[in-house]
């Protein structure tokens, strides 16, 4: 028998109520139930970081959480990173300026990891940036553009705020 539960999650400021199987991962819920396909699934075992989202403000891996665990939570995905008028978050602009992406598949997870980090650490060293993205795998860029982008975004945030 299917074990069903009705949950309610606020994603990017929009309310989503769905009745789902309890075994559904949060990543699948976001992607397939809510149609927000910007969150990517790269390994389904919590290593690659492509599925990283913000859950109540913290960067977490949505592939190793069940959707029911997010019942009542506030979630931000990559689609909610830019402001409502479409203006990039500084980390998005910095990724564009620094060629921080190629195929784009790891990008949403990278952006969510880095944006959560920059909220707490606005003046990181290069080493700290490398540490914080060491849980996100990118096969394309060699990370250098991502590191440069995160440092540039930090500088932009220090200068102008979010």
């Amino acid at each position: 028998m299917k074990d069903l539960r009705t949950i309610h999650v606020l994603i990017n400021g929009m309310s989503y109520q769905r009745t789902i199987e309890t075994r559904m991962t949060l990543a699948d819920f976001i992607r397939h139930e809510c149609g927000l396909t910007g969150t990517h699934v790269g390994c389904e075992h919590g290593v690659c970081g492509a599925c990283t989202i913000h859950l109540n403000g913290e960067a977490v891996r949505s592939c190793i959480m069940f959707a029911v665990q997010a019942d009542g939570a506030e979630v931000t995905t990559v689609e909610g990173l830019a402001s409502p008028d479409g203006k990039y978050h500084p980390i998005q602009q910095a990724f564009k300026n620094n060629n921080g992406l190629q195929c784009g598949f790891c990008t949403p997870g990278m952006l969510m990891t880095c944006s959560a980090f920059l909220r707490e650490y606005s003046n990181p060293s290069e080493r700290e940036v490398r540490e914080v993205i060491s849980g996100n795998i990118c096969r394309c860029t060699g990370y250098q553009g991502i590191v440069n982008a995160t440092l540039e975004a930090a500088a932009a945030i220090r200068k102008g705020g979010l």
């Binding site: 927000l36 598949f105 394309c140 060699g142």
Partner: protein
């Protein structure tokens, strides 16, 4: 004229959608009524299938069907099409879309489940009972070569898939007379591709139109269509293959796979759309890899380090089937003699079947392997003769004045190998200056005072890229005035949309934002083959240029007839054709396009054919040759075996640089892939059972940001005479030399201990063993 786009670090057209989470990868595409697919895969490396019981799976609620090969029947009962057939292949064996009666690697498809959703499909796959008679498995290529080895396939008495030879010059003469001959044995291993997006496909069949559409995460939509058409005996016109956004390729997505074919078969059978998204475990088990090579190499040289000849044998682990012919093997032998004017080469490669997932090229294909052998040989000559590594390389480079340089080798198609252009020594000079080679010994000594073992690696490489015969391009001026470039070629992150727009925009004084680029669809009017082998910039690039020139010429002709002037009196800026000196007399490209589209009863401009568009093909006969030199500075901790990479420098020559920011991205990403191969990535199999034992990203180590050094790239431009843009390839030139460079640096750091390194990947444990062995040998 507007700003020139080619050569500028233009920002990418691709980025906006990808940064906003609006990319469209296969798994993001949904069609109404789609069903989910999961596969039952072999749990044994080699076995006879006694029975497959699908009854429990079929009975599960939500399951639409469970199929074995016998259930599908008909056209599926034959093996898959062999890509790139060759007379050298002794056993041209491809797999069936589902195993028939024998499985030859863990992960081989045995049955397929279709269900309402993926969760149910996976549940059902677990319920399928496969009874095996387990057969002996062999996963070590050397063991497979032993006449007493168990067969990888029961129907063959030996495991030699093919013997490949690459021979030219007076090899015997050179080796019999050379004052020095040095012999070494090497082991090389490259692993799993690991694009961050795994494979995946969605197949839809429109019964009324008798049309199949396959969205697939591929590097080769046109080839996938060709193989589906051949396999299913259908017209190519009834099949459309689309590569949407693809989350990395790195080679293995250029092959065609049983899963893609099966989805089409199921869509036809069930008349419902079906989707399969590979998970990471399946990527380890069923996506093609590159694995082991065992080499015995001899180098003949003079006392001054001039290399006269290289000969050797490579035993190559091919895996269980030959989906891709011998391309990986060929790219292992064809690069010889690399950057060097070595007149005598004799390399034999024994391509061995093993009970492991098949191999096909990964970023660089066999070239990193060949470069490792060539560069290790250069270091061996330097070490044995007591010469500086850079001196040995300088004595052997193909010199600038020798281009075009015929190596003496001939490709299987009869075309002589000829390096087109370059200045190999200059690239070495650039990298030596960048890494401050002159003062390295001071830095080594300083580090040694702090108990650190510092080393410097220096290597060179060249690479055949832009392989013939074509990637076509269509350039159109739409009636809206927008410029549109349509390519059949597809991209996996390289920035092809951007460079296509740059090349086309330059002919019309436009910016890249005025250009719409469409990629990766067999509905494109321009034919294409495959985004592999650092070839698309050097094949599609010139095609785009040629098509844009034709469109420009037609626009000028139409405008000239309108203004009753000569074409020479016209110029184009910002998409508008002006009469020189009379700026009021002008017409936009959009207006010209509208006139050339005309309407019923409205005549076309006199003497012109409809439309303002052209399709063009650059059809080279030869490859172009990128080259470069790399250096790395690193420290080895001889207590833990840890290698700390401090700085990495690249001097890179890919001819005309279309977009320096994009080339930097390709090179830096490529270097990191090579670093992964050198130090981290190892796809391990249990030798007795053939079971893969590194099947998640915790056990199989990918390069991470924390271990990567700062990588600096300098460009040198030796335009290729082979194409009108002078462009060469950049996709693999980072990876190809990087492994040899890292290993060279580690060996250099441990030089005082007498450690010689003849293998990769080099784990800390293995490095400690080598250090211990060297110390024991010294003590003895």
């Amino acid at each position: 004229m507007g700003a020139r786009n080619v050569g500028a670090a233009v920002q990418r057209l691709e980025d906006d959608r990808l940064l906003r989470g609006q990319g469209r990868y296969v798994d993001d595409i949904h069609v109404h009524g789609e069903l989910a697919v999961a596969f039952v895969r072999s749990s044994e490396a080699h076995a006879r299938i006694i029975s497959v019981d699908t009854s429990a799976a079929v009975a599960l609620q939500g399951v639409i069907g469970v199929f074995t090969l016998a259930d599908l029947g008909g056209l599926t009962l034959k093996p898959m099409i062999l890509a790139n057939p060759s007379p050298l292949i002794r056993h041209p064996i491809t797999q069936h879309v589902l195993a028939q009666d024998e499985v030859c690697y863990v992960g081989q498809t045995i049955a397929v489940v279709v269900a309402e959703n993926r969760y149910v499909a996976e549940d059902a796959a677990q319920l399928v009972q496969v009874e095996y008679e387990v057969l002996p498995a062999v996963v070590d290529a050397r063991q497979a070569r032993d006449p007493l080895s168990p067969p990888v396939h029961q129907k063959f008495s030996d495991n030699l898939a093919a013997k490949v030879s690459w021979k030219f010059g007076d090899v015997d003469g050179v080796f019999s007379k050379a004052p020095y001959v040095f012999r070494e044995s090497y082991f090389q291993h490259r692993g799993v591709p690991h694009s961050m997006e795994c494979r995946g496909a969605l197949a839809q069949y429109d019964q009324q139109a008798d049309q199949i559409t396959l969205w697939t995460s591929t590097q080769s939509p046109f080839l996938v269509r060709r193989f589906i058409a051949q396999f299913l005996e259908r017209d190519e016109s009834s099949i459309r293959v689309v590569a949407p956004d693809v989350g990395g390729g790195f080679g293995p997505k250029a092959a065609h796979y049983p899963e893609e074919l099966l989805l089409v078969v199921l869509a036809l059978k069930l008349k419902r759309p079906v989707k399969w998204t590979e998970d990471r475990l399946e990527h380890f088990l069923a996506t093609t890899q590159q694995r082991d090579q065992w080499w015995d190499v001899e180098v003949a040289c003079e006392a001054d380090g001039k290399v006269l000849g290289i000969r050797g044998l490579c035993v190559h682990d091919n895996g269980a089937f030959l989906p891709y012919g011998l391309l990986l093997c060929m790219t292992t032998v064809v690069p010889f003699p690399g950057s060097y004017a070595i007149g005598s080469i004799d390399i034999t490669l024994d391509c061995m079947f093993t009970n492991a997932v098949p191999t096909t090229p990964i970023r660089g294909a066999g070239r990193p392997n060949a470069t490792f052998i060539i560069e290790r040989s250069m270091d061996s000559v330097a070490r044995n003769l007591g010469l500086d590594r850079t001196t040995v390389r300088r004595r052997n480079y193909v010199q600038k004045h020798q281009f075009p340089y015929p190596t003496g080798a001939k490709l299987p198609n009869g075309i002589a190998v000829q390096y087109d252009s370059g200045d190999y020594e200059k690239c070495l000079e650039m990298v030596l200056e960048a890494c401050d080679y002159t003062n390295f010994e001071t830095r080594r000594a300083e580090a040694a005072r702090h108990g650190k073992w510092r080393g410097l690696g220096v290597v060179s490489y060249n690479e055949d890229c832009g392989l013939p015969p074509y990637e076509g391009a269509t350039v159109k001026v739409l009636p809206s005035g927008k410029l549109c470039v349509e390519l059949g070629s597809c991209a996996q992150g390289q920035g092809l949309e951007t460079i296509a727009a740059q090349i086309a925009a330059d002919q019309f004084g436009l910016t890249v934002n005025d250009v719409v680029v469409k990629l990766g669809d067999t509905n494109s009017p321009a034919l294409a083959l495959s985004t592999v082998g650092s070839r698309v910039a050097a094949t599609a690039g010139p095609s785009i240029h040629l098509a844009a020139l034709q469109v420009r010429e037609k626009a000028l002709k139409v405008a000239a007839s309108q203004f009753e002037v000569s074409e020479k009196d016209l110029y184009i800026d910002a998409g508008i054709v002006f009469v020189k000196g009379l700026p009021d007399r002008n017409v936009s490209l959009g207006e010209l396009s509208k006139r050339l589209h005309a309407s019923v009863g409205v005549l076309l401009p006199m003497g012109f054919t409809p439309g303002l568009e052209a399709t063009a093909y650059h059809t080279p006969e030869r490859a172009v040759y990128s080259n470069g030199s790399n250096a790395v500075e690193l420290e080895v901790d001889i207590e833990t075996g840890e290698v700390r990479l401090m700085n990495y420098w690249v001097a890179h020559d890919c001819g005309t640089v279309l977009n320096p920011a994009l080339v930097d991205g390709q090179v830096i990403g490529g270097v990191v892939h090579g670093i992964g191969n050198a130090l981290f990535e190892h796809m391990k199999y249990d030798q007795s059972t053939g079971q893969p034992v590194t099947t998640n990203l915790g056990e199989y180590l990918m390069p991470l940001a924390t271990e990567m050094p700062k990588i600096s790239v300098d460009h040198m431009e030796s335009p290729s005479p082979v194409n009108v843009l002078g462009v060469k390839g950049a996709g693999e030139g980072g990876t190809i030399p990087a492994i040899a460079c890292i290993i060279s640096g580690i060996e250099d750091a441990l030089k005082p201990l007498g450690v010689v390194i003849k293998e990769f990947p080099l784990s800390p444990e293995r490095l400690l063993e080598l250090i211990d062995e060297a110390r024991t040998a010294t003590a003895a």
